[in-house]
């Protein structure tokens, strides 16, 4: 063994433990799940069915509804949240703003609250006799209580409000840290050249934030595709399947119905495929090699 090989062996031995852990706890389950996605049956009575599960996916109305709902959350909620986070972070980055720390903490705080606790509180806020309805009625904005949780349309809105409330502050933090890395002299130069605030935002801030925009939209996309807690705790996927997400469908297939773990694994692989497609798309759209 020459010196190079020896150093190599030593360095490998350092990372060997981590590599083995990753293999055992990440890759092994992933491969197992892939194998399982070609099996079907109840509980432990699984048998190989080839591509049947994947064929079933395409004609499964519950899956398609879950996919549709998840896409609606994705298309409506992620852009709103990203823009909101960017907007708030620019406001909070203002040098002249007082109580900056307080506002930043207040907006970030939802991201560290317990998922279940906040979902339960949202359920009560938006309940038929909840605070929101009481307020809207008192202020004469509506005549009858809005069915926030029991109407298919409003239930989706409730979920979107809930996830926006929780995750905007989280994304804001990334933008804030990125904004602080932008050299102030660039803005000074722009001001001297007579650029308006909006022009500065459009031509300086947004382009320089591009890597962060890409990062937050990919993580938000992944988060939305895996959305589970809010829906499970606020609406249980209802009314009907109006708010059901893909992750919740996996839960139902594995635990609520007579379990079919094979088919549940197929649905989870469908999510994996979607995440890969969306991430590639976003990288392409961002059009930046450094992104």
């Amino acid at each position: 063994m020459n010196i190079k090989a020896k150093t190599n062996a030593i360095s490998w031995s350092f990372i060997a433990v981590a590599v083995i852990m990753i293999c055992v706890f990440y890759f092994y389950p992933m491969i197992q799940a892939l194998i399982m996605s070609f099996q079907s049956g109840t509980g432990t009575n699984l048998s190989f069915v080839g591509l049947d599960n994947y064929k079933r996916l395409l004609s499964d109305t519950s899956f398609l509804t879950a996919l549709k709902n998840t896409s609606i959350y994705l298309i409506v909620q992620v852009p709103i949240m990203i823009l909101l986070a960017m907007f708030i972070s620019v406001l909070l980055n203002d040098k002249n703003l007082k109580l900056k720390g307080f506002f930043r903490t207040a907006i970030f705080l939802p991201a560290v609250t317990s998922l279940v606790a906040y979902s339960v509180i949202f359920k009560y806020l938006f309940g038929p006799d909840g605070l929101i309805n009481t307020m809207l009625l008192k202020l004469h904005i509506v005549n009858a209580p809005i069915e926030w949780i029991t109407d298919p349309f409003w239930a989706k809105i409730t979920i979107i409000i809930a996830i926006t409330w929780r995750w905007t502050g989280y994304n804001m933090i990334f933008y804030l840290s990125a904004l602080q890395n932008i050299d102030n002299s660039i803005y000074e130069a722009a001001r001297i050249d007579g650029a308006s605030s909006f022009r500065q935002f459009r031509s300086i801030t947004v382009p320089l934030l591009k890597p962060i925009i890409l990062f937050t939209s990919i993580t938000s996309t992944i988060g939305t595709l895996q959305l589970f807690d809010e829906v499970m705790n606020i609406t249980k996927g209802g009314p009907g399947n109006a708010t059901m997400t893909l992750s919740q469908y996996i839960y139902d297939l594995s635990f609520k119905y007579t379990p079919n773990f094979g088919y549940a694994a197929t649905v989870s692989y469908a999510i994996v495929i979607l995440i890969v497609i969306f991430s590639i798309l976003q990288f392409k759209l961002a059009g930046d090699k450094n992104g």
Binding site: A5, N8, A9, W12, A16, V19, I20, C23, V24, S40, T42, G43, T44, N45, R56, S59, D60, T61, S62, T65, K123, G127, P128, D129, E147, I149, T150, P152, T235, K236, G237, G238, P239, G240, N241, A242, D252, S254, F255, K256, Y257, T258, P259, N260, F261
Partner: protein, 435 residues
């Protein structure tokens, strides 16, 4: 270098596998030792609902403990959903570590568990006499002629009504005895008109009331085999859908989104009646200020279905012994308490209000006592009588999967889709999903 890595990796995997095998052997070794020796044994029991099932277990534990101090019984309260997920993960992974000895399972789910994990349950044929229990409980709890579940909570339904609201609307309790759902809606409209109160509280995401209606006609989501979906040409399902729509159209329904809102709607006097399972009694009596204002009548029956009767079931449950070390002790505990002890059932009635489905217990004194909260009505005897009439149906393995399909179609139906299309589409989905 690559080769070396491969060797290291393979070695580690082999080691992990070996550890696994070793553990298993030690497990069974221990188990053998436990069964052989006559030391203090320990069993664990999982159940939900602290005011009902857990109280029952504690009373059974005290009764059994008085004569058999050697058995250490640990009762663990879990939400029902948690029990279902824990059982599924435990049983499908093939390790029985961490699973209880006795577990409560809802009747709707029982066949799913029994058929999905055939070796995981311990037959109880020698533990209790099946003929001593209500007939309709034996179908869901047994498989291939073996009884796996000790029937417990009857789930018999009744119509809880506010007598004061009825009187204001010009009716008496006699007017709600053995009525049809159409008559029920008619009375509800009168109550709403006279009192301004809604007639019942419903959750659009819970088809419980439809399951009550369907079973009252001796029908279910599936054929008698419990596997073939039977929706499209099922007159009981069709009429249940129509009845549900009539309820909603009559503008007598207050909507709730979860259990606590449901209980609140009833306890606050916002609604005049509750058609549900007898396990709801403790929630009704929790509003002590309403004592004397409630009565219980038989559940309404479907108006146009000749098979429908004024008795049905909603969400009963039974006890199961898992096929893990300690099963003999667990089975004996169940057999000597809830499987045969008439005196225990009298205590359960007086202290918990749990009726059970053990026929000989109905002869006891506690079953004959009047209930002051219900203005002296003997609700236990009434419920026990209706229990005997409940049509026996096979819930099969897919109740909740089909339930979810029907929920969606029910929304479509309420939004104007025709009933025939609704049922045809539900049938198609169920056919393709249930395999």
């Amino acid at each position: 270098m690559r080769k070396m890595m491969a060797v290291v990796l393979a070695g580690m995997i082999a080691l992990t596998a070996a550890c696994g095998t070793n553990n298993n052997t030690t497990d069974s070794g221990n188990a053998g030792g436990d069964n052989g020796g006559k030391e203090t044994e320990k069993i664990t029991i999982w159940a939900w609902d602290p005011n009902f099932n857990i109280k029952v277990l504690n009373l059974a534990k005290d009764t059994y403990g008085a004569e058999n101090p050697d058995l250490d019984i640990e009762i663990i309260e879990n939400a029902q959903n948690d029990i279902v997920s824990k059982l599924n993960t435990g049983m499908s992974s093939g390790t029985t570590k961490g699973l209880p000895n006795i577990v409560l399972i809802e009747d709707y789910r029982a066949q799913g568990f029994l058929q999905a994990y055939p070796d995981m349950f311990y037959p109880l044929n020698d533990t209790f006499k099946a003929e001593d229990f209500a007939d309709y409980k034996l179908g869901p709890t047994s498989l291939d002629g073996k009884n796996y579940g000790l029937p417990f909570d009857s789930g018999v339904t009744g119509l809880y009504v506010r007598t004061d609201y009825l009187e204001q609307a010009g009716y008496t309790v006699d007017d709600v005895q053995n009525i049809t759902w159409d008559k029920y809606i008619e009375i509800g409209k009168a109550v709403k008109e006279k009192t301004g109160k809604d007639w019942l509280s419903l959750d659009p995401n819970d088809l419980g009331i439809m399951r009550i209606m369907i079973q009252s006609a001796g029908a279910w989501y599936t054929d008698e085999d419990g596997k073939t979906p039977n929706i499209q040409n099922n007159p009981a399902i069709k009429e249940s859908f129509e009845t549900y729509k009539k309820l909603m159209d009559a503008n007598i329904v207050k909507v709730h989104a979860d259990w606590s809102q449901f209980v609140a709607n009833n306890n606050s006097g916002a609604v005049g009646s509750v058609p549900t399972g007898n396990w709801f009694t403790p929630s009704i009596t929790a509003a002590a200020d309403q004592a004397g204002k409630w009565a219980v009548a038989p559940i309404p029956k479907l108006t146009n279905n000749a098979d429908s009767i004024n008795a049905s079931n909603l969400g009963g449950s039974s006890w199961y012994v898992l096929n893990v070390p300690g099963k003999e002790a667990a089975a004996e505990f169940l057999g000597k308490t809830l499987g045969s002890n008439v005196d225990l059932y009298q205590t359960l009635i007086t202290e918990v209000g749990a009726i059970g489905t053990y026929k000989p217990a109905a002869e006891g004194e506690a079953y004959k006592a009047a209930n002051e909260f219900f203005a002296g009505q003997n609700i236990v005897q009434d419920f026990a009588r209706w229990t005997a009439e409940i049509p026996n149906v096979n819930y099969g393995m897919h109740t909740y999967a089909i339930d979810d399909i029907l929920k969606v179609e029910l929304q479509n139906y309420l939004n104007g889709k025709s009933i025939d299309d609704v049922l045809a589409d539900a049938q198609k989905q169920a056919d393709s999903q249930i395999k």
